[in-house]
Symmetry: C2
Subunit: 342 residues, 2 copies
Amino acid sequence: MQQVQSGNEPRDPETVIVGVDVGGTKIAAGIVDAHGQVAGRIQMPTDIRDPEHTLQSIASAIKTSIEASGITPSRVKAVGLGIPGMVDPEQGICLLAVNLNWQNVAVQRWLEQELGLPCAIDNDVSAATLGESIYGAGQGMQDMVYLSLGTGVAARAIIHGQLYRGAHGMAGEIGHLVVMPDGPLCRCGARGCLEALAAGPALALAAQTAIAAGKETQLQVYQQRHGTIRSEHIFAAAADNDALALHILRQAGEHIAYGIYLLTMTFDPQLVVIGGGLASDQSPLLIAIRTRAAHLLAQSSASRAMLSTEAIQVTSMQRDAAIIGAAALVARANSQHKREKQ
Amino acid sequence: MQQVQSGNEPRDPETVIVGVDVGGTKIAAGIVDAHGQVAGRIQMPTDIRDPEHTLQSIASAIKTSIEASGITPSRVKAVGLGIPGMVDPEQGICLLAVNLNWQNVAVQRWLEQELGLPCAIDNDVSAATLGESIYGAGQGMQDMVYLSLGTGVAARAIIHGQLYRGAHGMAGEIGHLVVMPDGPLCRCGARGCLEALAAGPALALAAQTAIAAGKETQLQVYQQRHGTIRSEHIFAAAADNDALALHILRQAGEHIAYGIYLLTMTFDPQLVVIGGGLASDQSPLLIAIRTRAAHLLAQSSASRAMLSTEAIQVTSMQRDAAIIGAAALVARANSQHKREKQ
């Protein structure tokens, strides 16, 4: 996908969508055209004092992004929002978003009144999954899986060409699948969830625990310099061949590979796209994921007939994935509207 | 569901469908009306000398069932066939059925020519899943899972109200999911598949191994009487409180419960229906499945928000499930045809 610089006019002179990625610390927004190209990309801190302030910071990010893109505001036809939490997209309500301190917030109605524009919302991983299926590697595919690796671990599936939510909006929530019953405690209350073993904070915790136990590693330098260890430090140390960093990423990769194996045996997808903050191609994490997944899938003639490891890909959208995904929510809302009118 | 005696006229005087369950040793057929009621239920040995003979025994079972039901043959509008293997339902071809010695057999064309009736075919577990969703516990549900426990272990899902096949027709093939890497060898080539741990032959093998190791059990009597141990002997001994039989069923139940847990975390279904030869309510196997599934699902706040153990049900169709499911293939074929014409 061609890189478009922030501030450039999108290629398509027709209508555009504002895609907004709402995070607990920052809000990213951008103007997305019909080809999934992004302009006016901006980032602002999230004001989480209370829902009213958070909504105001979202509205402000949207207006700033439109200005930054330099497009005529009348070309903006709608806004799409990806939210890290449980969302009812039909009612336009965020049921629960722990990092935003939100519970039953009528996001869609508030923003539509504030902006005078139609607005579509959904969970951020659902948004990224739709983004991959409409603009990314999953274009035209009936059945694909998107796996988000970052502060959390979560998957979503496109099935029969549509985002699959499941009976409680939880389909693909493998971040809280217990794969090591005596493993580390997860914030969900269970022990040994995939998220407690392989998400960003789990990697950082593993490094801190090893350092506290006296392990020699470059990561000590990062800890002294930053007062803490973040997952990006582990990737940097691993690129420098630090043994502990490599070990942590390989272990995490094996757990994630098991998650991909399970998703394959149940969903039998054409493609698995990996996105999120920890997804970067050729990293030791990705190499460990591919190697272990290949081993697991090779065990049985049944699984050999399913996913090939070439079909495990890293998103090509990189940092724009969340913004493009949020914009894809509007594309989906429109196509559903068309189907209902038929 | 009301029991209809073999030979009775179905309640609905309109058209009926012949449902055929093709097994490696026997063929079961019956006449299914629009309410899923079965008449003319018959069973015949499967002639597996070669595909031609097998097809002829299927045709013969269909004709015998129509005669046994006493209905006017002109009321039969179509035939549905569930086949234990890989099936391309659109081409009407069985790609592979190990127990029938079939490879690329054009079943649909052969039967349509022989019988002069439209014919629909699919995998037997897919057929049973459709049967549950059209006539059984899953009526009207958008998202459900069917788990077949018998000579094999396999699951299928109804998603967005339709049978979900996946990219290679393998979605839900958790029978060959490895859950114990150093477990017993499976016929698929892997070790410790769910099927190698919990299907009928696995239960029998566990009993034989324990007896050979000198374990005291009632099952020795069955072995002496029948020359072998079959899964039904284990259920009978367990009902008589035999410690080994109870232990085998509990172990198998724990493995199956893990399969249900995985299906829940990925598909987030409204309902899981258990069918197949090993499915009987209140059996020690089912009690172990429910107990262990409740434990697994209670671990995390995420999984607690999904399936309740009340939503793990045993099929109410019992021995008719396979016949009704095969008939459901015709109902599906018709509704697809209608959609395509719209």
